[in-house]
Amino acid sequence: MDKERWRQIDTIFKAALELSTGERAAFLERACAGDAALREEVESLIANDREGDFMEAHAFEEATRLLAAKRERELSLAGKTVGPYKIISRIGAGGMGEVHLAVHTRTGRKVALKLLPAHHTGDEQRVRRFQQEARAVLALNHPNIVTIYDIEQADGACVIASEFIEGETLRTHMTRDTLTLSDALDVAAQVSAALAAAHAAGIVHRDIKPENVMLRPDGFVKVLDFGLAKLTERPDGAGSSAPTLASVNTDPGVVLGTVSYMSPEQARGLEVDARTDIWSLGVVLYEMATGRVPFVGETPTDVLASIIGKEPPPLARYLKAVPETLEWIVTKTLTKDREGRYQTARELLTDLKRLKQQLEFEAVAERSGEAATADTGAGAHSGDAAAQRKDASQSGGTTGGAGGSTSQIASSRMQTTTPLDTAARTTSSAEYIVEEIKRHRLGAAIVAMFASLALVAGALGLYRLFRRGQSAPFQTMQLTRLSDTSQAVETAVSPRGDFVVFIKEEAGRQSLWLRQTSAASSVQIAPPAEGVRYAVPVFSRAGDFIFYLKSDKPGPRMTLYRMATLGGGETKLIEDISTFDTRSNFSLSPDGKQAAFVRLDAQLQRSLVIADLEGGGERVLLARRLPRFVAAPQWSPDGQTIACIDGNFDSRGVPGGDRVVLGVRVADGVEVNIPNQNWSQLRSLTWIPDSSGLVVSASEKHGGPLQLWHLAYPDGTTRRITNDLSDYAGVSLTADSSSLASVQINQRLNIWTATPEKNSWSLAQLTDGEGRHDGEFGVSWAGEGRVVYHSMAGGKSDIWVVDGAGHQRQLTSGGGVNLFPSASPDGRYIVFGSDRSGVSSLWRMDSDGSHPKQLTSDGSIPRCSPDGQWVYYYMVGILFKVSIEGGTPVKIQIPDKDLAASPVLSPDGRLIACNYLVGQPGAQFRLAVIPAEGGSPLRIFDTPTGPIKPLRWTPDGRAILYILRRDGVGNIWSQPLDGGPAVPLTSFTSDDINNFDIAPDGRLVLSRGGATSSVVILGGWQ
């Protein structure tokens, strides 16, 4: 069944359900108009429409129990005694079982206790045999080896006690931070030293990987689990210590991480020896240097096949200036034939040390060389002097067009200190490499060492902008918001810059519009129609045609169409273009004859495809299977390369992102390195017409707005174009790159007051500005017309105060995230939630932000009592109050099985209004009132709420106020305490309300707004 057919069936089914049973036959007869199959489908659905209990047992309850059970088990071991050890807490879980911090009950020695359930180790006999063999392991004593104290059987598990290391694993470190090349060499050298000692004692590790390397804060590297891999090896396959091609398939997820470090002999299931560890260390070194493992594949089997059959990409592919020696060392450790590898860890250690010394020496030499130059450089400080020299020589050697700007660049450079600046420094030095690696997240391709400042003759517009931007970041840039482009979703500018085309969305319906940039209004060129969506409008090179994707079905599959810019019908070109991961999944070749796009197949594999616009000629250039994906292909101006997003949904669970811009050669699909960083989000990209770089719409940080960036090609220097709190969706350039079009999206949420008048409310805006999220998480009157509120205006969540005249001041800063402020009625204190202590808890400060004091160790949405003595809050469905002076929280009892949230005390202090859930199947949160001292609800209203919806009492205490949202418009409603029907208090006709509070005189304060968007033109940078 396809979507079209289903829509047909569903529409008739929907209509039939509205009718009584008796009316349905006649209706179906008419509606299906002789299509017997259609009628049969609808009838079978009607037959399955049952009131019964199907799907009424809510799965979330079971899911919650499951979650709770898992957590229970995690916690249950704490305090237990295993053999002579008492477990303190869980440290982590490894491939071989859980690791706990424990103490020896007699000696008090701290140990890391590994518990291997019996099913991991096989029968007791095997463990005993292992214990025998482990004597050698226990005897190992080396500063880089984690000492194992004890291996024994207890409570049906194999228990291994080892030295407790304060520190983190190399894996944890690498996912969070980058290693400098120098540090990477140091880690590898210490691991080599550990291997050398163990190998001398006849012990092979068999499982060297970043998870088994601990980094101590004092710089010591400790290798974990020597010889333990043997304990968990499969009893069959004599001597094979690890899963082999045949055996890994049974459990792909679990071993995928591990197989990457396997040697070819392990992959083949052959006997292993010391040289296996050397291979694995080579893989780790490779990963430390580049952020990637050398052998990859979609499945463990693919990885193993790659280990056995493929040569790793040279480091130079990911690092632009690799010391030759390092490349040589890595190649030697990763030689498939054991005989060609380093034969001993000692030899490897020697080479690593030598390289490290060499780099350090060069770094020192470089520094002193720079210092010498600076001495003659009349006051310039050292690094910049070198940069100036480089700039001058490079620029001077190029065509006249740009030569004139040399002095300007040089002089402005002297004042700059941006890190990117060093990319323009002349160097082949080790220090430079080391610094660059420090600066950039590993895994991103490292920035080119020689910032190529060679100019393209006659380069215009953006090039100059970006060049000058190195020192004066876009001071002269102009941003023009085009009128009559509100609610724009995507846009493109014509090559001459005279038109923009944009997609507009109103009330969920999309339409296509054209606007002359010099005119004041827009013209609709494709009207909205139910369910029709558009994406990626693009002008042809001559500007005479507009290409766009369109679909009338939900889902990511769209079709490419073309339309004459100045009117006419549309021509269908290519079907089945996916816009799943980013809408910008389409571009034209420079000659306008071909298209590049992304296609998604049923297995969720994404392919980068090129095809002739007139049909045929389809060719897949690149394919990515989940969790990896390819998106946003953009054809380079010379037609040779397609730049695209190469991403991975699975970035090892660490916020930080895993999306890079990758090049693909059109001729043969070979991947081409485009140096750039790992982005957290990468939405769209476009080439600068002279090929000097790309402009991307991306965000560096999680939750950070999508901003525009310039990516120089081929050197990879990244520079910000925009620096604000807006999102910029999409990017399009004119042919001379003198201007750039994008859609700017602004989240507007500001503080307003509403004063009651005879039949209406008089609104006044206290704060203004976009992207600030004023009051998103809390707003409260603070006496004398002042309002305290949560805001992102300072870049992160903080508490602010604004007075009646609109003067704003930030009250919290520095520590953590601060939200849900509530001022005490006497104006003395402000209570709020904060995670500044490491856990989110409730805090109090003076009204001027001074004297912060922690009140509780947990809790959410605090609210001061009207007498200012107490703070009411909730935590996991339980209500609490705590004295505003601090002390032990008091639980407010409600029936055991019920849940309550967001409590607010009534003006007379006798009642609590809250969001309440009775413990019955199918129950929903309702507005309820309970006695202030606790007990069963006195009244549960029909008013549906949610657990975290803000509630307030009217000043007379006779009604409870809440927000009701209809069609995107928020209003305050009032539920009388006497049980009468809820009535609207306000009758606003636009904007949403996010949070509110009411003053004793009945004035409201509102966090109110919505999202707006419009087409913007950036330019004027010459």
């Binding site: 939750g703 904060s834 339980i878 949160f925």
Partner: protein
């Protein structure tokens, strides 16, 4: 609505995907808190749980959730995955001769029949997803995410009546699909 669905499968979703482990960890932690004060016969409202997880994660991840709807969608998908993974392991364990070890306390959550039912339901949902994403979202938010009709309506930015109608038709589709197999 279409735009929202697009957003779920758009760039924002990419960013949120990476927060999944955090969402899951917080759900774990809170589920335990909630359950530790519940008697087994008591019903539990996940809506409370996911809302609270949402508040916590505002603090902990320092993420500006661009839309509360995103968070609820992610939480509901997480709950679906956790439950279905468990149900599948249980089914697989039976077929594979009981070789799969499920810890006792986890094993007590589902009966074999229920595990089979959930696996069948999940498969039927995959069929529905091919033709009607919106109904799948309604089912995920209601059935796995524990949201009320009103909350689901708010998340999807449609009227509660629409949610009610979509839910009813989705159920008919799923019931038929399960019966057929």
């Amino acid at each position: 609505m279409t735009e929202l669905l697009a957003a779920w499968s758009d760039g924002d979703r990419e960013a949120l995907d990476q927060l999944l482990p955090l969402v899951e960890r917080e759900l774990h932690r809170l589920a335990h808190h909630y359950m530790s004060r519940e008697r087994p016969d008591h019903t539990l409202q996940t809506s409370a749980l996911v809302n609270e997880a949402y508040l916590k994660l505002i603090d902990q991840t320092r993420v500006r959730w661009q839309n509360r709807a995103h968070f609820f969608a992610i939480a509901a998908q997480t709950m679906r995955r956790i439950l279905i993974d468990h149900a599948r392991r249980r089914r697989y364990g039976k077929r594979g001769g009981g070789a799969m070890e499920l810890p006792l306390d986890e094993a007590a959550v589902l009966t074999d029949e229920r595990a089979a039912e959930l696996v069948a339901l999940d498969e039927a949902l995959s069929v529905l997803a091919e033709v009607d994403e919106r109904k799948v979202k309604v089912v995920e938010l209601r059935f796995f995410g524990g949201l009320s009709v009103e909350e689901t309506a708010e998340v999807l930015k449609v009227s509660p009546e629409t949610v009610g109608r979509e839910w009813r038709r989705a159920k008919a589709f799923l019931h038929r699909e399960i019966q057929r197999n």
